[in-house]
Symmetry: C2
Amino acid sequence: MRNLIPVPLTSDAFAQFGEVIDLATAKQIPINYGSTTRFNDLATIDTGDENGRTLINVFRSRPVSLPHTVKIMERHPLGSQAFLSMSDIAFLVLVAPPVQTVHADDLELFITDGRQGVNFYKNTWHHYQLVLGRQTDFVVIDRGGRGENLVEVELRGEAQILAEDLPESGDL
Amino acid sequence: MRNLIPVPLTSDAFAQFGEVIDLATAKQIPINYGSTTRFNDLATIDTGDENGRTLINVFRSRPVSLPHTVKIMERHPLGSQAFLSMSDIAFLVLVAPPVQTVHADDLELFITDGRQGVNFYKNTWHHYQLVLGRQTDFVVIDRGGRGENLVEVELRGEAQILAEDLPESGDL
């Protein structure tokens, strides 16, 4: 059984899986005669072929119960999927490269700093949302339209996330 | 001088200007093995011609100072623009139909209930964000890419928003 230890989410470490959405590094444009700051173009939205269109959704996610055994990974072959948190609660981001089958050894676990979001590239294997602490809403931008955009696989091998392997919330 | 009195934002009253984004009326889909509720497809994103792409942004808006005299209205001829509030603060939505010039008599003023968002249709005249109370972040989904997507006009006639014409925050 592999124990997954989260590492801080950074753009470099996450580059093969997708983009980190981060106001702290975004381009800031003053607009509306100075009354608004526009944090511009935070993620590259990919809706795939001509059948795709941008979907805007809110995901209301209950916190993961720990310890959590990883059983299923999913990917979206037709488009990207972006998550912007509407709270300041950190969440876990569990991913694997776009291999055909996913083994416990392929997994990489990240933890956000409570302000970051992520945008998964098309075909990046990821776990469903692993929210810490309390129920949290996310704005999710993904792809709608004709075509099957969800693939799930069972994890090969064994992996788990333990409460004692997470940083104290005060450390984030 | 016309004094603009806000009316509650409803989908019917707003239909000619755009869509009301409202989790209370959205389609809810349980996903992620019951751990998440997906409020699905909240707004119709329109990025216009083949040069357009979806932009994801955050707008950080300072509250409007009242009384506020309306001077400028704007519209986006190449795409829609959606606003999802990241707080529970009500905001004002000031719009006009897609006439060529905008007169004070054309204006319609709405107020959200603190949970609603809006998606302006292409070419709907609107005022820049009129946030009440305190600085608020919005997730904004609009159109990027080649082409000029901002038109501004000076209001003809005179209109203003007075603090005493707004509901008490406890009434929302």
